[in-house]
């Protein structure tokens, strides 16, 4: 016989009550856990994806849309910008790195991005097989794309116009897979990278029929564009979707956005600023869910308190008997505090497991969760805080019943006078 066994026996003797308390608490804890995991991972993901990109320059429109489209690749482009104007920005002395992006096509829901090697380097991408895209119509694909679409090096496919799989098929031109990137845990995993020229070619072919355009001989270009070397600098007919910019110095953050926004057709958006804004918008929903979880936890605490309080009434005689057998007041108080603690500990552990389990299930069922790279198998230090907090809560709920146990007049109870 020992105290934990005694406490456990008491909990077991009221199975429904115990189960109710555990379920209530675990639901609250599970919601908190899911929010914690989801929020932390999303935040981290967003920060990682935007790392090293100080500014996105694109067509006028919503700055948040510009960021969502060009960094996270979840929204649609705001429009196109002239290559000549983009070049002008990229030549600014405050710009360290400028990466052109040309969007517009996709394959089975995965976006095809016309860009250059710098974009892959931005996320430290490595090849797991094949080679980088070198020539027009060659692509290097992200690991998720390769897995989901079962693409191998050498495979050919036709792109769809637009960023969803039901767009018009560009069947005149076929892309061929030159290589597959290894997993980067970034947005790159869900992208198909190619040259900007490929994107142009697909659309030219679509728009202007069979007007061939094979003068991509670098030698014939006297003054190549700093962004896309195969075309002449200052080409006013070519367009790209956007440009990702890294500043040379912090001075850029002060001067660049104002300067870019001053140009009539261009817009600059800061990923850091826009994602912070996005989080403050999302934050409302998160706060409501959090409040709901805290209400659940409060109700479970109340329920645990009532359960202990009521059971103590029934147990007055038990307590008196134990005193008559030599138990000290302190030991009985410990037993009751422990009962509260064990209840909340179980509720908390089950809640944590439920939270992680829910995310694991969600990751398997919902494709978007997988794409966003949110996993249920990540553990955070905050979970210790939840655990310790629940233990404290349980002890707190048990304090009044414990004080009552402490005050029990054994003689009166045993004589049946109280």
């Amino acid at each position: 016989m020992n105290l934990p066994l005694l406490v456990w026996s008491y909990l077991k003797s009221r199975p429904l009550n115990t189960a109710l308390n555990i379920v209530l608490l675990s639901l609250g804890i599970a919601v908190i856990t899911i929010l914690l995991l989801f929020n932390n991972q999303l935040q981290r993901k967003i920060t990682d994806n935007a790392k090293g990109i100080d500014l996105v320059v694109g067509a006028k429109g919503s700055p948040l849309q510009l960021i969502l489209c060009n960094i996270f690749h979840i929204d649609f482009p705001t429009g196109n910008i002239n290559l000549k104007e983009a070049e002008k920005i990229s030549k600014n002395r405050l710009v360290k790195k400028a990466i052109p992006l040309a969007l517009g096509d996709s394959y089975n829901g995965y976006r095809i991005i016309g860009t250059n090697q710098l974009y892959a380097e931005q996320y430290n991408a490595q090849l797991s097989s094949g080679a980088w895209f070198q020539k027009e119509m060659e692509v290097t694909i992200g690991s998720n794309v390769a897995n989901a679409l079962k693409l191998k090096t050498g495979d050919k496919f036709e792109s769809n116009h637009g960023l969803t799989s039901d767009g018009h098929a560009h069947d005149e031109q076929k892309f061929s897979v030159a290589g597959i990137m290894s997993h980067t845990n970034s947005v790159l995993d869900n992208l198909i990278l190619t040259q900007v020229e490929s994107v142009w070619k697909v659309h030219e072919a679509h728009g202007e029929g069979e007007k061939t355009h094979d003068d991509h001989d670098h030698d014939s270009i006297a003054n190549p564009s700093p962004l896309i070397p195969s075309v002449e600098a200052g080409d006013s007919t070519k367009e790209i979707t956007s440009m990702l910019i890294q500043y040379r110095s912090p001075m850029g953050a002060i001067q660049m956005p104002r300067w870019v926004n001053g140009q009539s057709s261009l817009q600059a958006a800061s990923p850091a600023f826009e994602t912070a804004r996005l989080f403050s918008i999302l934050g409302v929903g998160v706060d409501i869910l959090k409040a709901f979880a805290y209400v659940l936890i409060f109700i479970s605490a109340l329920s645990i308190f009532i359960a202990l309080y009521n059971s103590l009434k029934e147990r007055r005689y038990d307590l008196a008997i134990m005193r008559s057998m030599g138990a000290s007041r302190a030991r009985l108080v410990t037993a009751i505090l422990m009962e509260g603690g064990v209840l909340t500990l179980m509720g908390c552990v089950i809640g944590l497991l439920m939270g992680h389990g829910a995310l694991i299930v969600m990751g398997n069922l919902v494709e978007e969760t997988q794409k966003a790279g949110i996993s249920g198998l990540v553990f955070y230090e905050e979970e210790w805080i939840i655990l310790v907090g629940s233990l404290l809560l349980g002890t707190l709920c048990a304090i009044i019943p414990a004080i009552q146990a402490y005050r029990t007049d054994i003689s009166k109870v045993l004589a049946g006078n109280e």
Binding site: S9, K12, M322, R323, S324, G326, A415
Partner: protein, 209 residues
């Protein structure tokens, strides 16, 4: 001398004071404490067992004047030297028979021996109920388990408060016989407070309040 009561009186919260006669109980001779309801039988029993304090006079159990013990010391003393049997509600319903019995050595800080559990259960002919649920026992059986628990620590003194009042004649005789037998076997002084007339024929030494 196991129990010695000298010039003991107790004042209730209501102001009423009861004085108790002096007496002593030895290990060899069980003793009945008789009296009408309200005569203070339970009060005296609780005073002797240290469940109630602040009396006048002197109560000595096994050479210890319990009036001088602090509350914590009393708890320990009670666990080691005194076994209680009450009229009813005496077992912890959340625990099995065996664990109810093991509570006695556990709470008094003595080694928990399962062999001793079987021994005392044999003494009250309930060895087959060792793992039974307490709720599954009849009144008589529950009372026998309570007796087994009271003697488990081989206490110097067993105090029983109306141990047979809730039982029918057949069970009453069975329980009192067992109580007398195990008390003798464990060499414990036995003091039974009761108004149950059926016990008078079994125990000759009687103190009337």
């Amino acid at each position: 001398m196991m129990i010695q009561v000298q010039q003991v009186a107790y004042s209730y919260e209501t102001g009423k004071t009861i004085s108790f006669p002096d007496f002593a109980v030895t290990g060899s001779e069980p003793c009945l404490l008789l009296g009408e309801s309200g005569s203070g039988k339970t009060t005296l029993l609780h005073l002797i067992g240290g469940l109630l304090k602040n009396q006048q006079g002197k109560i000595v159990i096994h050479d210890t004047n319990i009036s001088q013990l602090s509350e914590t010391e009393l708890d320990k003393f009670r666990g080691k030297h005194i076994g209680f049997i009450f009229q009813k509600n005496h077992l912890i319903s959340a625990l099995s028979v065996k664990n109810n019995l093991l509570m006695a050595p556990y709470l008094s800080g003595l080694p928990q021996q399962e062999s001793r559990v079987r021994e005392v259960l044999e003494g009250v002919s309930l060895q087959e109920k060792e793992n039974a649920n307490v709720n599954a026992l009849s009144h008589g059986q529950a009372q026998r388990v309570a007796i087994a628990r009271a003697v488990l620590n081989k206490p110097d003194v067993i105090l029983a408060d109306e141990p047979t009042s809730a039982l029918d004649d057949k069970n009453c005789m069975r329980v009192i016989d067992m109580l007398l037998a195990v008390a003798k076997q464990n060499n414990s002084a036995l003091l039974i407070a009761t108004h149950d007339q059926r016990l008078k024929s079994k125990i000759s030494r009687q103190i009337i309040l």
